[in-house]
Amino acid sequence: MKAFKLENEPKIESGLKTPEHYFEDFSSKVMQRLPKQKPKVIPIFQKRKITIMMVAAVLVITLMVPFLINLATKSKELDENTLENYLAYQSNMNQYDLISELDSDDINKIKTPIELEDETIEDFLTTNPNLEHLISE
């Protein structure tokens, strides 16, 4: 049997043929399949970080709600001085309006016995410029 020698033989072609016109539309076929925009890669730990931060934010807001409500309630309360100053300088109320708002309980509450010494009455009467007017009344 004659030994086959590749180098002694004429070049053996593979025999594999390409279909006619195959390359004519190949590039456009590939261009259509190319991804339009590369997907943004977000590392998994970053995703987890965002989730943790969101949970923390919700927790903080939830815990702050009672404090905020309390603060809002407190801010509506007026202390006595502010009320008195408002009534005295800012409002159009006069003493008769105030008196009309008082009921018998309020009057009883402000009824406090006043003990005055003679000297005090005398001092008041001597220093008061409308003494005559008061006496005539």
């Binding site: 049997m1 590749l6 072609e13 593979s14 025999g15 594999l16 195959y22 590939v30 190319l34 590369k38």
Partner: protein, 180 residues
């Protein structure tokens, strides 16, 4: 070399990317098709693998460091795609890679895109008996007529080792054809 660097820059620049990629496609489609077809043998499979190769090249352009030539980088992707494709095809069919390759050679005679006679079929059968690396080296050297230096860059093997590999492949093929 500078020309290649400039071309890579146009490939990476979003403004010029599409035009540059089209140029790359036109330049590489034929040699890459032959390279892939020689591995997978069937035209339909070669078409699939070639398209996927170019899509991978586009997707990984940003990772191309320019340490190797664009030519060898593209060929490396094509080779890996073709080998992976064959492995997956064999796995899907539930047969070994060797059986798949023999079946494909059996079908060559009926393939409309195969124009060969007994000697071509016999040569393919002889190649199929070689280890995968020797098959690759033989096909790239004998059919594609690539230089050893080019094959060396693509496969990451020294020229000396490639020459030895090709020599062994030729001896085995000659022995197979003589006996059969």
């Amino acid at each position: 070399m500078q020309e290649e660097k400039d071309f890579i820059q146009t490939l990476l620049d979003p403004k010029t990317q599409n035009q540059a990629f089209q140029q790359l496609l036109l330049e590489y489609q034929k040699p890459l098709y032959n390279h892939i077809r020689n591995i997978v043998l069937n035209h339909e499979d070669a078409d699939d693998v070639l398209q996927n190769t170019f899509i991978k090249v586009f997707q990984y352009l940003n990772t191309f460091k320019g340490e190797s030539k664009l030519f060898s980088w593209v060929y490396r992707i094509a080779t890996n795609e073709a080998l992976t494709f064959l492995k997956q095809k064999a796995k899907k069919s539930g047969i070994s890679s060797e059986t798949l390759q023999n079946n494909t050679i059996d079908n060559l005679k009926a393939d409309v895109y195969f124009d060969g006679n007994e000697i071509q079929i016999k040569l393919q059968r002889a190649i199929a008996t070689l280890p995968q690396k020797q098959q690759l080296v033989f096909r790239m050297k004998y059919f594609e007529e690539l230089k050893y230096e080019e094959i060396s860059e693509i496969l990451g093997t020294t020229v000396g080792a490639l020459k030895a590999s090709y020599h062994h492949a030729v001896k085995k093929i000659e022995a197979f054809v003589t006996v059969n």
